[in-house]
């Protein structure tokens, strides 16, 4: 009986189907719990799903690369989803046009602040150089951040982890910080979350307000551009 089960498990885990299924299942579970708890920002569905999946993979001793063979189909959709952010942006084009100058200044400010503050704090804690480089682009959307990290000599896969953690943290504490500051302007709220917490912040903003979601998506795109250009330049200057 036990032998049979192991055989089936070995067979299933060799095909991408199982891990694709588990990824979707973990997401649906996380989403359900998130909705049941009133979409509180501190219950992040990505975090819940990642914890469950890492737990399953650790218990079954499944290497990440085997998992990724199934999960890559989901991962691939990040590209087209990023392209699709053109839609909320287009729907808010009148609003964007009205505050174009504020938007451009804010994104440059936010980009330098996001990388600078992360570098300063990590450096103060005396982390290794690989960690320092890998953490610098943490507020930029995953594929761009990985590219920047690689260019500066960091570890792209470590950067991906920092990016995801930043997104989760930003989506969790961002709304609380904005509430404390009593900022009620949905465009500024969305924009700040998008600069700090890229797509994960945008996913959260989109669920709360269409305006916040559009500005968050815009901020995420502009921040990717600004950081991809500014960070390598500043890096050369300082190191």
């Amino acid at each position: 009986m036990d032998g049979n089960f192991t055989d089936i498990w070995v067979y299933l885990s060799a095909s991408p189907l199982l891990h694709l299924f588990l990824t979707l299942l973990a997401y649906l579970g996380g989403q359900k719990l998130y909705e049941r708890l009133g979409m509180h920002p501190l219950v992040n569905p990505v975090l819940l799903a990642v914890i469950v999946l890492v737990g399953i993979l650790t218990v079954t001793r499944t290497p990440y690369l085997v998992y990724f063979e199934g999960a890559q189909f989901v991962h691939f959709l990040l590209g087209p989803a990023t392209v699709a952010l053109a839609l909320p942006l287009y729907r808010q084009v009148a609003r964007v046009r009205k505050s174009l100058v504020s938007i451009l200044f804010s994104v440059i400010f936010g980009s330098v602040l996001a990388t600078g503050s992360a570098l300063a704090i990590a450096w103060a804690f005396d982390v290794s150089e690989a960690t320092l480089i890998s953490i610098a682009p943490k507020s930029v959307t995953t594929p761009v951040a990985m590219g920047i990290s690689e260019k500066l000599g960091g570890l792209p896969s470590l950067t991906a982890v920092f990016v995801i953690l930043t997104g989760i943290i930003g989506a969790m504490i961002g709304p609380l910080v904005l509430n404390i500051l009593r900022i009620k302007d949905w465009s500024a709220r969305g924009f700040a979350i998008g600069v700090a917490a890229h797509g994960i912040g945008t996913a959260r903003a989109m669920q709360v307000s269409e305006v916040a979601g559009a500005f968050s998506g815009l901020a995420m795109g502009l921040n990717a551009l600004a950081t991809a250009i500014l960070l390598p330049l500043l890096w050369q200057f300082f190191f």
């Binding site: 839609l87 992360a118 704090i121 982390v127 982890v161 700040a192």
Partner: protein, 118 residues
Amino acid sequence: MIGAITLLLGCQLLGELFIAATGLPLPGPVVGMVILFTGLLIRGGIPETVAKVSDTLLRNLSLLFIPAGVGVMLHLSLIEREWVGVTVALIGSSAITVALTALVMVGLKKLSRAGGEE
């Protein structure tokens, strides 16, 4: 639906080609987003099927970050060694960035309104 998916992938592909040709340090999908946005501006509206497919993708954006997030298991030993610095840096930097960026944007919007700029 297939047409909408083809359009999204086509914009992404154009973005990747643009980057390969210019060597700019940008991600292909972000350029693809700019291309689609420009296209929508020229066309002056969003086709219904494109809206349906894109909105479905965006509603489930969180799902798409899970595979990369699970990658944390590759770096558990490094994070175990440096978790204090990393945690403080990620939380501190996120809070500072959200707070100051929002304040700057609200301030700039007030300024530009006071200055009579459109």
